[in-house]
């Protein structure tokens, strides 16, 4: 099907031939299931690499008196920046895009993703861009880099990565908006797909700001506007997405997946659908954070502070609402204490911890409002957190929370993704490591920020008396999160190569359409286009005269 083909994806003939296991069959595949696995595998690989690089940067901060790993401040900036960028654009976002690419067509009853070959192009463009991004850093590019050509390569490759992710999000949003099966209105869309829609729309309306900044950076670097000693400032290009409140963008799909998962593993579907969907959608209000951090708004200090207060407060409330409503299922149902349930629940709780911690960042602007102007010159009167590593600590909690959510989601949907369950012992170890690591990483960064350690990049590492201890705590946290991610990756790899039990009896099955397919689903996903009448289509199946009649498969004459 051509990229511009507008033929309905419900045409089974366009759903794709059976997948072959040959190399060219895999490399040329446009099947959303294959692409989803590629995204997840690639994202997990780069996530591990990014966490290792972040740990290396963390080692540098244990001894502020001298540089241990890096040769100077510029090289430290490069290491730190590489870890930060690949963590988000090479690790966490691609894994979430991969989960969405795999799950969305199954959940909405479509035989394929919209613009399948475009989706394949997005993956390969992302992969090439991420590899080039790493190469640019290796050859002394990136923020703080000494070679102009490789700084230009950094700009171009990061732009390619972001454009690829943007294109993948356009395709996912288009699929959810336009390819839902008969009877599936938006309010009947499963929580995960709904959250992916909000997530993708948010990205579509925010990532272009970074692309525009990169275009400007390219011109500035290419034509010598950025002298060598000012290249550290280029790190500001990605600040929009690596600091709160925009960073809480990752909570949107995490909470949606958690709502689906918790409902299944408590045997009590989450009842208040519309409030949960509204709460997940309300998280997108943090897009106003883009106004705060964008490089282009003409604003006053008061406007800055007002937006910051609004954004951070608006982050905590929706997270609390979703967890509270999901908590009803836990209270009324019978929770199954497996990795899927615990990982998803802990991920949500860690996001709530991050949102509450972010409220600390309001102290400075709130104090500025309350304290008389004459006192603002007195440092003892103010808790200064902006411009310190407080936000790096906050990012640590969010990364830990996202790793937890991804672990829970992979364990929950593993029967559909690989046809096998994932190993529970490895999963529990991963959850423990990621949860503890996220808390320690956040604690270390926040305390170091309170102790006045300036935000990176810096010309020299500095801070208060206990900053080195706090940085050590953060480093332990990074290592623990990396261990959690590694265990998740190992467990996923085991399932992928068939080393765990088949999904014939995974022990759970949901009420949404993906559970009506085989494990893993066949090409085309469904024998015939399913017709749904509610948000829980599998619960609508009513046996009649001894023959099974479902709304999803064999009986094409089901009511709309």
């Amino acid at each position: 099907m051509a990229l511009t083909e507008s033929r309905t994806p419900t045409d089974a003939r366009t759903a794709g031939a059976p997948e072959t296991a040959t190399l060219d069959g895999l490399l040329g595949s446009a099947d959303h299931k294959t692409l989803g696995r590629f995204w997840i595998a690639g994202g997990l690989t780069f996530l591990l690499g990014a966490l290792v690089v972040s740990a290396v940067a963390g080692i540098e901060t244990i001894d502020l008196g001298s540089f241990t790993v890096a040769s100077d401040a510029d090289q430290f900036t490069q290491i730190w920046s590489l870890g930060r960028e690949v963590l988000l654009f090479g690790g966490l976002l691609p894994i979430l895009v991969g989960l969405a690419t795999y799950l969305v067509p199954l959940q909405i009853g479509a035989p394929a993703i919209a613009f399948a070959r475009g989706a394949a192009g997005a993956f390969w463009a992302w992969l090439i861009g991420t590899v080039l991004l790493v190469v640019s850093y290796i050859f002394n590019g990136g923020p703080g880099g000494g070679k102009a050509d490789f700084v230009v390569l950094w700009t171009v490759s990061l732009g390619l990565v972001i454009l690829a992710l943007l294109w993948a999000m356009v395709i996912l949003a288009t699929t959810i908006l336009g390819a839902r099966t008969i009877g599936m209105t938006l309010d009947r869309t499963p929580f995960a797909s709904w959250s992916f829609l909000v997530f993708c729309l948010y990205g579509i309306l925010t990532l272009p700001l970074v692309v525009a900044d990169l275009a400007l950076t390219y011109v500035r670097v290419r034509h010598g506007f950025v002298p060598l000693d000012a290249r550290q400032t280029l790190v500001g290009v990605t600040n929009l997405f690596t600091y709160a409140p925009t960073l809480f963008w990752l909570a949107i799909p995490a909470l949606g997946m958690a709502a689906d998962t918790i409902g299944v593993h408590t045997a009590r579907p989450v009842m208040l659908r519309k409030p949960i969907m509204a709460a997940v959608g309300a998280l997108s209000v943090i897009s106003f954070g883009a106004v705060y951090f964008s490089f282009g708004s003409v604003r006053t200090v008061d406007f800055n502070n007002f937006m910051l207060v609004l954004d951070i407060a608006a982050t905590a409330l929706p997270i609390l609402a979703v967890l509270g409503l999901a908590g009803e299922s836990i209270r009324r149902g019978t929770p199954r204490l497996n990795v899927a349930f615990i990982g998803s629940l802990l991920g949500g709780l860690l996001f709530l911890l991050a949102a509450v911690t972010a409220l600390l960042g309001l102290f400075e602007p709130v104090q500025l409002w309350l304290i008389d102007n004459a006192d603002t010159g007195n440092p003892d009167k103010l808790l200064i957190l902006n411009g310190t590593t407080f936000h790096d600590g906050l990012r640590g909690i969010v990364v830990g929370a996202t790793v937890l959510s991804i672990t829970g989601a992979l364990h929950h949907w593993a029967p559909k993704i690989w046809g096998r369950t994932m190993a529970e012992p490895l999963g529990f170890a991963a959850v423990l490591a990621a949860a503890g690591g996220g808390v320690l990483w956040g604690l270390g960064g926040v305390l170091a920020g309170v102790d006045n350690q300036p935000a990176y990049p810096v010309s020299s590492l500095a801070g208060g008396d206990n900053v080195e201890l706090y940085n050590l705590i953060a480093l332990i946290g990074i290592v623990a999160v990396a261990a959690g991610a590694l265990l998740t990756a190992l467990s996923a790899a085991q399932s992928a190569v068939g080393r765990t039990s088949a999904a014939g009896a995974p022990g759970w099955s949901g009420l949404t359409l993906e559970w009506a397919t085989s494990s893993p689903p066949s090409p085309g996903n469904f024998d015939q286009p399913p017709v749904v009448r509610s948000a829980t289509p599998l619960a609508d199946a009513v046996p009649e005269s001894g023959s099974a009649e479902t709304t999803t498969g064999t009986d094409a004459g089901g009511e709309a």
Binding site: T4, S6, R7, T8, P9, T10, A114, F115, L166, V170, I171, A173, T174, T175, L177, G178, A179, I182, L201, I204, L205, T206, L207, P208, L209, V211, A212, D213, A215, L216, Y218, V219, R220, H223, G224, F225, S294, F295, G296, S297, V298
Partner: protein
């Protein structure tokens, strides 16, 4: 008593109509258009911020010797307006199965696009803006470059849809692709309007 069967013109066994075709291309194009507008507005607002910062120090914004004439930008604005009309004409022609008019309109649209690109190149030579050494130069070249890139994408889209229409892919029965190309073309016109006001008029 009236024999109601005389008025039953619809057979009772007529099959259900197929579900409406999902407009995936139009949805995707609309999302991409929104992304383009957001990105360009962000770039323009950064331009305004930096310009304001320079002007507040008492320094001139444009380097000495650089002028931005009004004739060429205004003429390009008119050209883009005509191109929008031409593209709407193409859409209308396809919707009415008027192939000769459709191809004339497609060709006109592309011609206006080429004209705008050529005029931009001419304007850049008139401006005599240095390539390096000035923040205004970097921003203006970036904004003009992104607008030209958007124009190139829009023209490529129009060519693709024109060829598909030529091949019989689009007609009055299904004109989604042409409608999508029209949406993106209008977005492209919007981008130029932002550039025209933010750079060429405000200077």
């Amino acid at each position: 008593m009236t024999d109601i069967s005389l008025y039953q013109t619809i057979p009772v066994d007529v099959p259900e109509s197929p579900p409406a075709r999902p407009r995936l291309l139009l949805i995707a194009t609309s999302l991409v258009a929104a992304a383009v507008i957001v990105g360009y507005v962000g770039l323009a607002s950064y331009y305004a911020q930096v310009r304001q910062g320079v002007l507040s120090t008492g320094q001139p914004w444009l380097p000495s010797g650089v002028t931005i004439p009004l004739t060429q930008p205004n003429f390009m604005l008119l050209t883009m307006a005509f191109s929008a009309v031409a593209m709407a004409w193409a859409l209308s022609a396809v919707r009415h199965d008027d192939r000769p008019n459709a191809f004339i309109a497609f060709a006109l649209t592309l011609m206006f696009g080429f004209a705008q690109i050529a005029q931009t190149a001419y304007l850049l030579t008139l401006m005599k803006m240095p390539a390096a050494g000035n923040p205004a130069a970097a921003l203006i070249y970036t904004m003009v470059g992104v607008q030209l890139a958007t124009m190139a994408m829009a023209m490529g889209y129009v060519v693709a849809m024109a060829l598909r229409t030529l091949g019989g892919g689009y007609s009055a029965r299904d004109y989604e692709g042409v409608l999508s190309a029209t949406v993106f073309w209008f977005t492209n016109v919007g981008v130029y309007i932002i550039l025209w006001y933010a750079v060429y008029i405000t200077k």
